[in-house]
Amino acid sequence: MTAGIVVFPGSNCDYDCHFVLTKILKVSAKYLWHKDTDLNGVDLVILPGGFSYGDYLRTGAIAKFSPIMTEVKRFAAQGGKVLGICNGFQTLTEAGLLPGALIRNKSLRFICKELFLRVENTDTPFTQLYTLNEIIQLPIAHTDGNYYADTETLKRLEGEGLIVFRYCNSSGDLTEESNPNGSLHYIAGIINEGRNVLGLMPHPERRVDPIVGGTGGARLFASVLNVEIPSLAEG
């Protein structure tokens, strides 16, 4: 299995993803330049966090027109697995690969904070190694992470189990305080109907290497790339 990490001008979590995949999880990973028109045979495409094109116009609004996105859309339509983290999630919604939009945090502030998340669906290639309703910890780092979708879309997301992660407190309760960006239905991450495109605002790649103080994100990558987590990184 090989992961391809797309590099847009302004991406800044591309190296973090590459590091944890190759050095911690020992899987093959390569960078894909946003002007490339070939995915080089990768099995998973990752749209990393950052501020592609300086977040100009809207987050992800310019990145979605990068040449590589045509290939990413084609790949996703054929069932290829795509993971969008933070700015990658914003880009996936802009590109129409996931419904809804990420708007300005209700506080108007950039929030960089460790949060609790509840795993809402483990019947996806990305979350099969988690336990249903398990509470994990991942950090967020964004200004525009406030998930919005119209009532009909929210109903569909709820009804079809497409909400994968929700912000919660340490006991797993959904509270206003545990949802600092103001996301509707406490949504932190969603998946498409085909269960092959996942987007989430928190950063799983920042919680893989045990040296950083938590490994809540390791099983996401291990799930989708079908690899064992080295015993060092369990937890």
Partner: protein, 85 residues
């Protein structure tokens, strides 16, 4: 010729920027303002002459690139013209 594009958050979308501006207006003692919404104004300089095709292109640019229909509404106008749509 200049085209002006107005992008606004849809009415049912929370606008924390507008709320913050409204808050400071109240703090400064400006009364009588019931609400504030913050949007975007984008100016495009179009090659002349402006044809039906370039007007159609302007519409596509406004709807496909400059705004996101999930959260925003968009209008545009040409110099000497009315606001559309």
């Amino acid at each position: 010729m200049k085209a002006t594009v107005f992008v606004r958050l849809k009415a049912d979308i929370l606008d924390p920027q507008g709320k913050a501006v409204h808050g400071i207006l109240n703090t400064l003692g400006y009364r009588g303002v019931k609400g504030v919404r913050v949007g975007k104004l984008i100016e495009l300089e179009l090659e002349e002459p402006v044809t039906d095709a370039s007007k159609a292109q302007l519409k596509e640019i406004a709807q496909r690139v400059l705004s996101n229909p999930v959260i925003e509404s968009v209008e545009w106008k040409l110099d000497n013209g009315g606001t559309r749509p």
